[in-house]
Point group: D4
Chain length 146, copies 8
């Protein structure tokens, strides 16, 4: 029983590397996918493909096409989505990806620090489980595959 | 042809009253529904129904049950969802409600100031339309019913 | 905004009458539907329609056709399902109806005494909300329609 | 043609081992998945991952997150669900898992002793087939793959 | 609680009139819809709309467009489908309409004489209930609305 | 039994008026909806709501938001879609609306002159029926409601 | 690109062997599945698993459980369904399986002699294609994989 | 992570070969499928399988059966659809295939020259991304798999 897990959310820390290394150390048969983690490339992908856009807003609109496309294709191939809310930024993308997981019928684990519990209470209720650390998420992955 | 419109998002300003009054002045046959706008009542509803909870986190978890229940029932009765992102707070609920609209197959209009264009670019791409003001959203409602 | 609510579960007490009277006293625009509450008629409906069956098992199989048919038609017309687990019997029907509500995309409130919390913990997690008394459920109905 | 079969229900007897051994002896190309069978671990998993909870009710709520998550992921990978109702306990989880199978569009076989025929009559009608013994379920698996 | 019921199947007898009259006598709030009952008009509708076709096969193909269109529109508006298998003809249309009811998520009652029990055993298993007479079907309608 | 019919396709002729007048003369209980028929308004609606766009391409992108929004809301309220392909223009919108009807599970009638039979053969196969004139489509509407 | 094809319909002739041999001779990468072809075993499977039933009707009901179970599991694994209507019997099962294919979103080819064109005209319209011989169906399989 | 991509649209140029060669040169793990590219064979396939038809219209109707069948089977196996609108012909098939991709829940990239931007503006809005050249589409494929 192999699992494919989509790692949504914060791209400014190394949590994806941490989760991959720890899962590998546990020999769990899990394959990870996720968004473009190079922030600049993610922001610029619209202009890289379509050329210079007339303003920052249109540059963003162009980039969102390809970022949503990548997310949709990879998330649809996943058995589970794990979404991490970090400490900084608005992270509406993370909220959107977590909700998209629910919409696609994908089970969902949220990782968020206790600080965020109030702001995330309704989304947390829609997730299958909410944890506070990467290690707790890994315990959940382990439990599924025992 | 009557429409039911769910007004998601910010509850700390009077944008819902504004939209209702202007739509009434235009004689558009639109019925509006939306979340609990009394913030304290929304935060306390879990304890009001279930009694004192052991901590702030559990109080929030209890409230989220009834807020999500209300949203789900009312949004499923809507033909269209309009979600407004305000200037303050994380507003992950708004992002979640906007995504839920997409998940339920409900057409979606986002209202957000230009300041938010970067943070909302992917969600904006999933909406049917993104506008910057309540008046623009009303023009869209008018166009649908012409 | 009218709501139709399906009242699933225990048929040996008067909780449906209680909920209807209290909701009427509150002037909430809610219409209630539910299963056959005459237990004998529910058990005998298969033989009443199809005639004498060869054994108790086949009598039950015959009755289940018409009870499931009634439940499916009425539950599909509902905006919300409230399922009450009483103190006695196996009540697998109640669990099944609660699960069917989830399957049909109907929001779900469970009512169960604290005694049942362990046995119902997974089903409770799938419901939108779990309460312990009819009065708490009525508060939730009121909150939805405020 | 390989099949994946989810074995839902009673975790206090050895019926899963029996079915696996007999299917292996028949050389049927079937892979089995199912819930956590270590009852204590299943009850404690919430606290093992999230830490001490404020009461038994909250401990159960925490555990249900991870048990439902495991069930959802594994059941969605199955071609067939077999649910066994044992002699003891309320077994509302079994009823819920059987109903979830129907909701996910998974064919369903119930195993229950004749004693349970009345209490399970409506759920039995929703299953593809109801049998009384593990050996009868194995005959059905054999028939599918002939 | 009003119901709309689609009456599928045999068009060469008066069973639809019988069911409508008896339901009216019982004051049940049921509205009936169904296929074109004028057999010639049903067979000729393709040529009546599209003009002369090159052969009997193409005449049939043309008619099937409009008969399927009518069935799909009206069946989708129904809460329940009742399909009667008569004594004569192949009645593959009846089998198809009964299966379409299942596909559209519409509850289904079959009416067939005991003679047909073997040929219809698998389809009967997919219906919510199978009865032998119009009067039995009316008892079922009555039971739903009690 | 009232029907709502969405009239997709060509907006440069008076076929919608013709169909409405003839259906009214027949006293058929049909309510019609459809796209914005004022071509300039349809092309300019993006700039009317969002303000001046940086180029013709972005003006079109802006307009498409509101035209698709209108179509989606109104088509989802329809029981049937009729799509007319005229003699001029690419009419890819008409093909898209016809396909969207199929996607939303809405029955579909195509109206196209014989000249278009080759180019439309695959789409025609997906429609419930293809006719050549408005009068033929009206005969089909009449047949559904007989 | 491998295909799995479910061969529904007549079990009293050798058409399945013919299609398998010819497809093998063409080296097409197609795997075939289908119903139990031993008619007696298909009729008796209910009693073989569940034991002696009280009458022929109940024997049939028991068998239908396991035949429908087998069909549902195997058909859901198929990319395409081919259904052959033979010259004899009512073949309502074939009509039901063909309709189930449509319900499951599986493309469908019907094989029927010209004699059956009138009785099958509506079902034929729902199929992707209708042919008269096994050889024509094989040409269609070849065309898909060119 | 392998991807299957359906290449819809124009069959009179060599864009499919170009995309396949360039993707192979990049070592991207992508498998391509698509429609019959031999135009005559596509037009004649109905008569090749079913024999001579009574007129050009019926010849087209016969061909559309098998072309739609091929498209449906192969598109359902795809993770992504790329649809290219060329310079000539009505290309309603391309619009239909692009819309079918949306209907099947398949992510969609449009390729069209700037000349077509006005005629395709609404369909473009439904696609995940619209580009002008094959090279831009390849950049998008690369981005998904980085």
């Amino acid at each position: 029983m192999n699992l494919t897990v989509y790692l949504a959310g914060e791209i400014h820390s190394t949590w994806r590397d941490e989760i991959k290394q720890k899962v590998a150390a546990l020999n769990l048969p899990i394959h990870f996918v996720g968004p473009m983690e190079n922030h600049d490339r993610s922001d610029n992908i619209g202009e890289e493909i379509l050329g210079k856009q007339p303003s920052a807003i249109f540059k963003d609109a162009a980039a969102s096409n390809f970022n949503n496309l990548r997310t949709e294709i990879l998330m649809k191939k996943a058995d589970l989505v794990i979404a991490l809310f970090g400490e900084k930024y608005k992270q509406w993308n993370t909220a959107m990806d977590a909700s998209a997981a629910v919409a696609y019928g994908k089970p969902l684990i949220l990782i968020r620090s206790e600080d965020h519990h109030h702001a995330l209470k309704e989304l947390s209720r829609k997730a299958n489980a909410t944890v506070e650390t990467v290690d707790q998420a890994i315990k959940a992955l382990h439990y599924i595959l025992e």
